[in-house]
């Protein structure tokens, strides 16, 4: 079904204004009896199936004194479930060549499954998926072990400049708001988690009313309905968790943290935009010019192409349920730290003050609109879009209107949105690396 409609899309791009109403992707949507939202694309080109089930159960649902509980709960889902031990789950998935994975960020926690669509393989893999979602055991031995593994990972991150910078950055930009907590929690928080907390977190957050079931692949509509009903029917009941509160403004901070690395890792940013933000497209398109467009972007031009300060220099908005951050980042050796930071700051200032040029905006749109088919050229990528459309309650025609919304962005809209949303004097700054010895 994908190939059947994508060529139509490509032609639609050539004459986008007239044809913007056409479906880029035939997404089928329904809601199960228990309230789970389902998004399905039928595609029989390959004998395989991708499924994901997401919940509002990301790290923003952690309490600060138990930070890490959300991630640990998700990690523990397949460590024993239904009638199966953790070993049986792993072996039975391997026997049919299925891949069970996860999705985890500040908003979402979820499980992904990729399986062959042949009857035996598919039914075995789906049976395991259903148990993992509905009846996880959270056994004590695995709980202790997986917590220790997470603690080891956190410890190792303390020596990695990019990890130290990332955590300090979110803390600086969000203060005590849940987005300020690290996704994998803290050592102190994990040490406070008790085994029974996992089942409690699962019962409260992995509920049908908050679930988003996404499917693409070799499955009929009837089979998809049966599968969604089966997943949904056995999930914990009760209301979906309350939405994450809006972050409050924080005073910008400048943090300098010491590590014996050869490079300084620099992050700058502020509270940016949400996934359903009215300024989403002007900010998204504008950011291509600022730091999202690789060699087309001003940050890479200034830091790398002109000065050779950094291998990578970028900016991006991380849109979440609530405004996620605008993050600007680069790494450079210690001697260049001050200069590189100054260049980054001036680049943002100039961009906010003047906005993009007409040529830059044209280039950005050319890339984003022309490259749209590359966003949907694998089942894996399409599954990510289905999950995002479902979780963030984006309109079903989100992909159909995407290119026309990009095309419609004007110079004035970009300038105006950046002026209102990105105050260069309000950027928090984090520098992690070797210290200047002066």
């Amino acid at each position: 079904m994908i190939t059947d409609l994508l060529p139509r899309l490509l032609l639609a791009l050539a004459a986008w204004t007239a044809l913007a109403a056409h479906a880029a992707l035939p997404i089928q949507h329904w809601t199960t009896a228990e309230g789970a939202r389902v998004y399905f694309v039928e595609s029989h080109n390959l004998p395989m199936l991708d499924v994901s089930v997401d919940f509002p159960a990301g790290s923003a649902y952690d309490a600060p004194d138990k930070a890490g509980l959300a991630r640990l709960t998700q990690v523990m889902l397949d460590q024993g479930a239904g009638q199966m031990s953790e070993e049986e789950i792993a072996n039975r998935l391997a026997d049919v060549g299925a891949e069970l994975g996860g999705r985890f960020d500040r908003d979402r926690a979820g499980v992904t499954l990729r399986t062959l669509s042949s009857a035996k393989e598919r039914s075995e893999a789906l049976a395991i998926l259903v148990d993992v979602l509905q009846h996880p055991h959270f056994p004590d031995a695995a709980f202790q072990r997986e917590r220790n593994r997470m603690l080891a990972e956190l410890k190792e991150q303390e020596a990695q400049p990019e990890d130290v910078a990332d955590k300090a950055f979110y803390r600086a930009v969000y203060g005590t708001h849940p987005y300020g907590l690290p996704e994998s929690g803290t050592a102190r928080g994990l040490n406070q988690v008790k085994q029974e907390d996992l089942a409690r977190f699962h019962a409260a957050h992995y509920v049908a009313a908050g679930a988003v079931i996404s499917m693409i692949g070799d499955l009929s509509r009837t089979e998809a309905e049966q599968l969604a009903a089966r997943i949904s029917a056995g999930l914990p009941t009760g209301p979906a968790p309350a939405s994450i509160a809006a972050p409050v403004a924080v005073k910008p901070e400048t943090l300098k943290l010491s590590l014996p690395s050869t490079q300084s890792h620099i992050l700058m940013g502020l509270q940016g935009m949400s996934r359903t933000d009215p300024d989403y497209f002007p900010l998204y398109v504008g950011n291509y010019v600022l730091g999202g467009g690789g060699f087309d972007s001003r940050l890479l031009e200034e830091e790398r192409q002109k000065r050779g300060y950094a291998y990578s220099a970028y900016s991006y908005f991380n849109p979440l349920v609530q405004p996620g951050p605008l993050e600007i980042g680069l790494q450079t050796r210690q001697e260049h730290t001050e200069d590189a930071l100054k260049v980054a700051h001036e680049t943002v200032q100039n961009f906010v003050a003047q906005g993009p040029t007409q040529a830059e905006l044209t280039q950005a749109k050319g890339n984003l609109v022309g490259g749209f088919p590359l966003r949907l050229d694998t089942n894996k990528k399409i599954l990510e879009y289905l999950a995002a459309i479902g979780f963030y309650r984006l309109p079903l025609n989100y992909l159909d209107t995407w290119t026309s919304k990009v095309q419609a962005v004007s110079l004035d809209q970009v300038r105006d949105a950046f002026r209102r949303r990105v105050n260069p004097d309000a950027l928090s700054v984090v520098v992690v690396g070797p210290q200047a010895t002066q």
């Binding site: 994908i2 190939t3 059947d4 060529p7 139509r8 490509l10 032609l11 791009l13 056409h22 080109n45 390959l46 395989m48 953790e86 792993a90 072996n91 391997a94 026997d95 049919v96 060549g97 299925a98 695995a142 220790n148 593994r149 603690l151 080891a152 410890k155 190792e156 020596a159 990695q160 130290v164 400048t254 300098k256 010491s258 590590l259 014996p260 050869t262 490079q263 060699f295 000065r307 050779g308 300060y309 950094a310 291998y311 450079t332 050796r333 280039q363 050319g366 890339n367 609109v369 022309g370 490259g371 749209f372 088919p373 590359l374 050229d377 694998t378 089942n379 894996k380 520098v431 210290q435």
Partner: protein, 457 residues
């Protein structure tokens, strides 16, 4: 065009997609020696185009290590017709994505594009295959960027540092002993002329393979390739010396000190790679041995050392059967809190000894095979990945029929063959063990700020 004709075209597209989903790779050669490989795949209206040069870090000489990768950077710095930065600009303007990567064996440049933009990518790639300009000015800036890349990827990554040092010990003669990105001292003393020499030596149609996968017709692709690459002259390529690694005569051990929080263990045994895809048997058995040991969450070593023994927090087994140079079967692990690297190493050895002594079960082997069979289907989701497999086989010099025969070859491997492969390869005399010895990251107490404490900057 009206809506009705859209539907008709769409229906045709579906038919072709189904018919060509498993199409064979079509293999062409231009008069100047450029090999052109096309896989038609009409699932989406996109195309990936890759140019593979048979010139990787293994073709470098001491003193100029890293020049293959440096040249990859210089390839974006302009020609007579296409000034610096314009390559990327032109690809981006039509919606394309592009990048390049350098490996031990090859350097590859790629573009992913809407399917009707293939000609642009060929025009630009053909131009920089023959007409690259390397000015001192752009060189002086780009070598700084490469040194930053080395700092980011290696100097500040303790496990990458261990890997780099381990390879330089495991290989005594073969150029795989040198890091792809180059030693820092060599980068500091590199010159623009070194880059020009490298380009002149290796960048030629008869040392390259063009791989195109996507919603295209092979004949159209070849016609475009003839138009753009056809006029480029072939070059006399230098003879390549085998530089075969002499047999290792006993275990090698190294410690690497670096700022880190956790220790880390890397073990590597010399192993063969595929040379004769019909007669070679050991590489297929080794691939399945890796799957039995570490192919899923309850595979042998995962179960024994991570899940039940709790001696390691992470463990990986790796083996790549496809390479121009020699192979290595390797294992890396991070010990759990309170477990020393020595204890972990002994436990790993005990598990490997069990495989050598008692072999693997049919069930374990079938499980490893099930994953090979499934992943053969999953890989077809990505045109880019398909192009990678085709380009790698071609560049290494293996027949493309291996793409179709691979699964059958792996299916035919017996449990006895896996046991024999383990016994033959897992031997101390062919082993290098490298250990990360973590150094404290906290500076000595002083007035300066410590991690997590706010400070003015």
């Amino acid at each position: 065009m009206n809506i009705i004709s859209f539907f008709r075209w769409a229906a045709a597209g579906l038919f072709l997609a189904t018919a060509s989903a498993h199409a064979a790779v079509q293999d062409f050669k231009l008069d100047n020696g450029l090999r052109v490989l096309v896989q038609e795949d009409a699932r989406a209206p996109v195309v990936v185009s890759q140019v593979w040069y048979r010139a990787g870090s293994m073709d470098e000489f001491n003193g100029t290590t890293g020049v293959a990768h440096l040249l990859e950077h210089m390839m974006f710095q302009g020609t007579e017709k296409v000034p610096a930065g314009q390559f990327s600009k032109q690809i981006a303007a039509v919606g394309g994505r592009e990048n390049a990567f350098t490996n031990l064996d090859y350097t590859t440049y790629f573009q992913q594009l809407p399917k009707d933009q293939l000609a642009l990518s060929m025009k630009l790639e053909a131009d920089r295959m023959a007409n690259l300009k390397i000015s001192d000015e752009t060189y002086n800036k780009e070598i700084q960027v490469v040194m930053e890349e080395r700092r980011m990827r290696t100097e500040d990554k303790p496990q990458a540092m261990v890997y780099e040092r381990a390879m330089s010990v495991a290989y005594q003669e073969h150029p795989y002993r040198r890091p792809i990105i180059g030693w820092m001292d060599d980068l500091e003393h590199m010159t623009a002329q070194d880059a020009r020499d490298w380009y002149r030596r290796w960048y030629a149609p008869n040392n390259a393979t063009l791989v195109v996968v996507g919603d295209v017709k092979a004949n159209d692709v070849v016609a475009l390739a003839r138009e753009y690459f056809g006029p480029l002259p072939a070059k006399a390529l230098p003879a390549r010396k085998p530089q075969d690694e002499p047999e290792q005569k006993g275990i090698k051990r190294i410690n690497v000190k670096a700022p880190a929080k956790l220790p880390y263990l890397l073990m590597g045994w010399h192993a063969p790679v595929l040379r004769d895809v019909d007669r070679d048997q050991l590489p297929y058995a080794l691939q399945l041995l890796a799957g039995v040991l570490d192919g899923h969450d309850s595979a042998r070593l995962q179960k024994a050392l991570v899940k039940e023994g709790k001696l390691a927090v992470n463990l990986d087994v790796g083996y790549d059967s496809i390479a121009r140079g020699p192979g290595m079967f390797y294992l890396e692990a991070t010990p759990s809190e309170g477990v020393t690297v020595d204890v972990l190493e002994k436990a790993i050895r005990a598990e490997l000894d069990k495989v050598i002594a008692s072999g693997v079960s049919e069930q374990e082997l079938n499980r490893a095979k099930a994953q090979v069979i499934a992943s053969d289907v999953y890989q077809r989701d990505s045109g880019f990945y398909q192009a990678m497999q085709i380009g790698e086989l071609a560049t290494v010099g293996l027949p493309l029929r291996l793409l179709d025969e691979r699964v059958a070859k792996l299916r035919a491997v017996t449990a006895d063959e896996v046991k024999a492969a383990a016994a033959q390869i897992i031997q101390d005399d062919h082993l290098t063990v490298a250990v990360l010895d973590p150094q404290p990251i906290e500076p000595k107490p002083r007035r300066a700020p410590v991690p997590g404490v706010k400070n003015d900057y």
